[in-house]
Amino acid sequence: MGPLVPQEIIGMNWNLLIAFVVGIGFGFVLEQAGFSSSRKLAGMFYGYDTVVLKVFFTGAITAMLGLLFFSLFGWIDLSLVYVNPTFLGSTIVGGIIMGAGFILGGFCPGTSVCAAAIGKIDAMVFIGGIFLGVFFFAESYPMIEDFYMSGSLGSLKVHEVFGISGGFFTLLVIIAALIMFKLGELAEKRWPREEY
């Protein structure tokens, strides 16, 4: 049955409307969770607020399980769902640069747009920075292109690397997440902060 648009069960012209509706849900949930506050997000890295860990992993696991069950029931053809390709070098170095941006700026791109939507000026400045950063990348692309394309592993999945089933790997992620949630709760008691 699904995914509906790639199989033309729903016309391509509906795709952008779907994107808009999905975006509303995404923005609404992020804001309700408190991701519109850089101090709440940064709490992750100092232990006083681990909402990032809880929301992020619960979200990833819910979607993982959803895809697993949908595929089991024949509701979705996983071969038609986009899997982002791995290019070892650029994925790692890109992630490191983003991590530095996270602790400096207190936002990631999605959360900054959500925060700007409720009037956070620091988020608007962060977004201005993203535009500049993307522009710098685009202009320096000729110098970076070789590295950007190196270490290609294709649309590789983790469980294929370890030779286990997707379901078993998902179980391992769930167990790891439960342990991290417990650590998060302990951290919040260990390094509490008053209202912020």
């Binding site: 509303i24 809880k54 619960t58 979200g59 000729p142 999945k157």
Partner: protein
Amino acid sequence: MKTKYMNPYLAGVLLGLVLLMAFFFSGRGLGASGAVKSVVVTAVDIVAPEHTANSHFYSKYVGEGKEPMKAWLVFEMMGVLVGGFLSGALSGRLNWKIEHFPGITAKRRLIFAAAGGILFGFGSQLGRGCTSGSALTGMAVLSVAGFISMMAIFGTAFALAYFLRKNWI
């Protein structure tokens, strides 16, 4: 009146369902930085069309028959603005504010926000997606890139947290 935030585990389940909806309808997940890329390539194409035509980077997105602004992520991010605004309005959190740790000035907060944004923008292009597009969505489809992105982003932020503690605690 400021109301409380949603229970994080409930918010996580709802986030996962939104992501699942994107997979089920469009066969793709969430994202954010890709929308910025669309705006940047469109703007540069208007200002310097010869430059974009000759560039390996820009020519992937602009030129004959390509419409970077009619991209899925552009419409999704417009939705994020609307959804974030609605949530803020419902919970009484709409106000102009430079949010920062009381121990630092607003100016310092803005300088670091700009620097962080620049790094995140650059890194998201190099890493082919940011926290939502590469890490969250990638993890949901069990991609190697998703898990590597997540570990690199959060690992680096943890590793640098000590050096930037005066900004936050």
